[in-house]
């Protein structure tokens, strides 16, 4: 049985966890835009935005260093581009690029880590995201675990038959073969899922239960942070 970290984090009980995704998603979008348009040399504004994020992490009760560490996943990419800017003679831009990409990742992690994916997708759909996109994300999320479990079983089976010879080439060929089998199995599973859906009177249109509730606290959260981010940019 798999326990995905973000999934476990999203089951928390903090005030941030309780906010409606229709409030959190626009706040995230506003934050990302504000961060992107903050001038490169405006260290104070970038600092305030970082402080806002750190406050959010503290309020959410997510593991502080855990989330900071996981946001570093973006660094190999942003540092590469940062180095290119540095070499081109723009060290301030390079630092801002790395800092902004790191803070953006942290913001996304904070929202995803405090919102169960079904609610996040429901919020995206309520805000006008295309239904097909939401469905693809939903199915991907649901079956990622099943497919990864199958992949692990195949890896185990391959390891059991590997024998004493430890060459990379046969291993690579086995992995390529396993990938092909995994793809074929995924296709068959998709057919099976479709059959199961048809058996339960599916007519081609997904009807979801509306589980979202937007109350005045969500309104305050959205309005308050919108004003705050506006002030950070203008002052």
């Amino acid at each position: 049985m798999h326990h995905v970290l973000l999934d476990r984090w999203s089951q928390g009980e903090s005030p941030l966890h309780h906010r409606d995704p229709r409030a959190k998603i626009p706040v995230l979008a506003l934050f990302l835009v504000a961060l992107a348009i903050t001038p490169v040399r405006d260290y104070l504004a970038i600092g305030v935005e970082a402080a806002l994020l750190l406050t959010g992490i503290l309020v959410s009760g997510l593991p502080f260093f855990g989330i900071l560490l996981r946001a570093m996943a973006v660094l190999p990419f942003s540092v590469t581009f940062g180095l290119m800017s540095w070499i081109a003679g723009e060290p301030e831009r390079a630092i801002a690029l790395v800092a902004k990409s790191y803070l953006s990742t942290l913001a996304v992690l904070l929202i995803v880590g405090t919102t169960p994916l079904p609610r996040l997708l429901a919020g995206m759909e309520a805000l006008g995201a295309p239904r097909l996109l939401v469905l693809v994300a939903q199915f991907l999320y649901r079956y990622l675990f099943v497919i990864s479990e199958q992949a692990q079983h195949m890896r185990l089976a391959a390891s059991c038959r590997q024998g004493p010879v430890d060459h990379h080439r046969p291993r690579f060929r086995a992995a390529a073969g396993a990938l092909a089998v995994l793809f074929a199995r995924s296709y068959l599973r998709a057919e099976g899922i479709h059959r199961a859906m048809m058996a339960r009177a599916f007519t081609g249109r997904f009807l979801a239960l509306d589980s979202l509730r937007f109350d005045f606290r969500d309104g305050l959260f959205l309005a308050g942070l919108t004003v705050f981010l506006g002030l950070v940019l203008t002052l």
């Binding site: 997708l121 099943v146 899922i193 199961a196 239960l209």
Partner: protein
């Protein structure tokens, strides 16, 4: 009395030309539980997929008096609840409650009614406590219970279970027998597990190379086709004695 299911001279072949069903005749009466036996690839699953029109062959298939045709599919799929062999294929919604409510919503119920039916079905399947859990956090036995709840929520007249004991440990199998025994629906059980079948069904049919070749009491069918594990067990004992 009109049978719940009536199949007459059913033929089906796959796109590659493989003849999967040949001249199958079958009836199921209200309240009956029938086990479907046969070797792998003998046509059992293909047969049950004809009953709700997921696969369509030549011949006559009638469910609750309705011929299986395009215009009757919605009604027929509400009358036949099908629990598939791989529960993971059946549980595709993000939470257990949403998954169980999927069928009632498709039947045209409003969300409140669908949730109410889903909750009742989860209780029937003994899994009320898992309503808000994600399907991938459940054990194999729990997944099977949710899959069962998903079809019970549609209040079908017939339950079709395809290899329901696959991946289940003996206590989970016993639990499933207890749940199924209490359900009033007529049942069709595709299985290789003769003990499981015998504990629920009084009648069995046997499929061989796409043909339904026998219909009778479970014990008689099991004996006639030697459809038990005992010879295998005897063979193991014999091999072990020879080796040691």
């Amino acid at each position: 009395m009109t049978p719940l299911i009536e199949v007459r001279d059913l033929h089906y072949h796959y796109d590659d030309g493989t003849q999967a069903l040949e001249g199958v005749n079958f009836t199921l009466q209200a309240g009956e539980t029938v086990a479907l036996f046969g070797a792998n690839g003998s046509g059992k699953t293909t047969f049950v997929l004809q009953l709700n029109g997921i696969l369509r062959g030549e011949g006559s298939v009638t469910v609750c008096g309705l011929p299986v045709s395009k215009e009757n599919l919605a009604a027929i799929r509400s009358k036949i609840g099908m629990v598939f062999q791989d529960a993971d294929e059946q549980l595709f919604m993000p939470t257990v409650l949403e998954d169980v409510a999927f069928g009632p919503l498709n039947q045209g119920l409003d969300p409140e009614e669908a949730v109410a039916k889903a909750k009742v079905a989860l209780e029937q399947a003994g899994l009320s406590h898992a309503a808000n859990r994600a399907p991938y956090h459940l054990s194999a036995g729990e997944k099977r219970q949710v899959a069962l709840a998903g079809v019970l929520a549609m209040q079908p007249e017939i339950l079709v279970l395809d290899e329901p004991t696959t991946f289940l440990d003996p206590p989970a199998q016993r639990h499933l027998v207890d749940i199924l025994r209490d359900l009033p629906q007529a049942k069709l059980i595709v299985t290789h597990n003769t003990r499981f079948a015998a504990s629920l069904a009084s009648r069995a049919v046997f499929f061989q190379k796409g043909k339904l070749v026998a219909d009778g009491p479970v014990d008689e069918i099991v004996q006639r086709y030697d459809w038990t594990y005992s010879p295998l067990a005897a063979d193991f004992r014999y091999s072990a004695q020879r080796r040691f």
